[in-house]
Symmetry: C2
Subunit: 230 residues, 2 copies
């Protein structure tokens, strides 16, 4: 049912959307998924190599040197994935534009994803944030992250799902941008090799597990993964 709404939403006249990102899931995947679900046409440009990205970074196209970058109508360049998700949510009708209180909730759970995974970003890309860790400090930090920080956050996320009557994180009727962001973050978490199997299996978070299944059962998402795994 929801899925049909998704397909019917397809617009006669949508802006031209071109995504620039690596050929990985990472922070770009939620952009691909929301387009796929809502029927927005997306030119999904994946860099063929790191060199292609670096060459582009040297040029003028990647104004802020950041990806994911979404180019709209060949002239507007958008960065910051949550902000891009909000924009696409408005285009596709998946972001609440009249209920500002609900919109704030959608925004807050998206920003919460950033908070939750700041620790793992730092552990992976420390120097980008000026954080230099010795191997010992890194190991100790991962332990603390796995044992305390991540579970504390995930319990809060579990609570969001417990309170939702629809199974979507902010309680929206259809998935909101926040669901696409959370799904992608959790998939990325599963690919992070230093995290414990217990966390990756979401053992203590049954509601989050149900969400992942629900999300993956959406027709358009199944189709997307069937095609993209070719």
């Amino acid at each position: 049912m929801e899925e049909m709404a998704g397909s019917k939403r397809k617009m006669e006249q949508q802006p031209t959307l071109k995504l620039y990102y690596f050929d990985i899931k990472g922070k770009g995947e939620c952009i691909r998924l929301i387009c796929s679900y809502s029927g927005l046409e997306l030119n999904d440009h994946r860099f063929s190599s790191r060199d292609e990205f670096l060459a582009m970074k040297e040029g003028t196209r990647l104004q802020f040197g950041q990806v994911p970058m979404l180019e709209v109508d060949g002239k507007h360049t958008m960065v910051q994935s949550n902000s891009i998700m909000r924009y696409l949510g408005k285009l596709s009708g998946l972001y609440p534009t009249t209920d500002h209180i609900l919109a704030q909730k959608v925004d807050a759970v998206m920003d919460q994803a950033t908070d939750v995974f700041t620790g793992s970003s730092i552990l992976k890309y420390g120097p980008r944030y000026a954080i230099e860790l010795t191997p010992e400090a890194k190991e100790k930090s991962y332990e603390h992250y796995n044992q305390t920080v991540l579970p504390t956050h995930l319990r809060k996320v579990e609570r969001y799902f417990s309170k939702s009557s629809t199974g979507w994180i902010a309680g929206t009727v259809e998935p909101s941008p926040a669901d696409f962001v959370w799904y992608t973050s959790l998939i990325n978490m599963k690919n992070h090799k230093e995290l414990t199997q217990k966390i990756k299996n979401l053992e203590d978070y049954p509601k989050i597990k149900v969400f992942m299944k629900k999300f993956e059962s959406l027709e358009s998402i199944k189709e997307y993964y069937e095609n993209s795994s070719k």
Copy 2:
């Protein structure tokens, strides 16, 4: 002129807004400032002590244990300051609700503030993110942050202001939520004692300096600081 628009915006019927935060600038200040500028009435509850906050955290009121928390009409609890700022921007007319491309830009520069200051948050509150730094590692990290990471980011911010025809960061006619967030972040940066004086003085960033002056010259902001410094 802009200021008059700000005062005239005062709503006949606004939701009741109550902010819960510490008696510091921190992440709560931008909420106070946007209300002050736009004429939104705000009950600015400042914890009288850390114990008051902890007691509240134990209770049911701070659902997510986080502050700043904005209570709306005594029943909706909002967390995540950028999301709160977007909500208040919609209430006050300072957030673009019809131009989605402009709204994305406002959102992106707000999220960029989070990115820029992630390094300094980690250096201050490492364990919260599971990052354990020895005093030596901390010192080395601060050096890298001061010398490279922060200047790289601030140059990008300088570029935003260079491109703006209005002096506001996203090029909006009036200050957008992003300007309140940036002003607050930069003030907090000045209070961070481990950062170099050169950075705090914004020596290499003349456009940002102009922005700070412009912001502080707004009538309502001047008034706010005259009253709050009592």
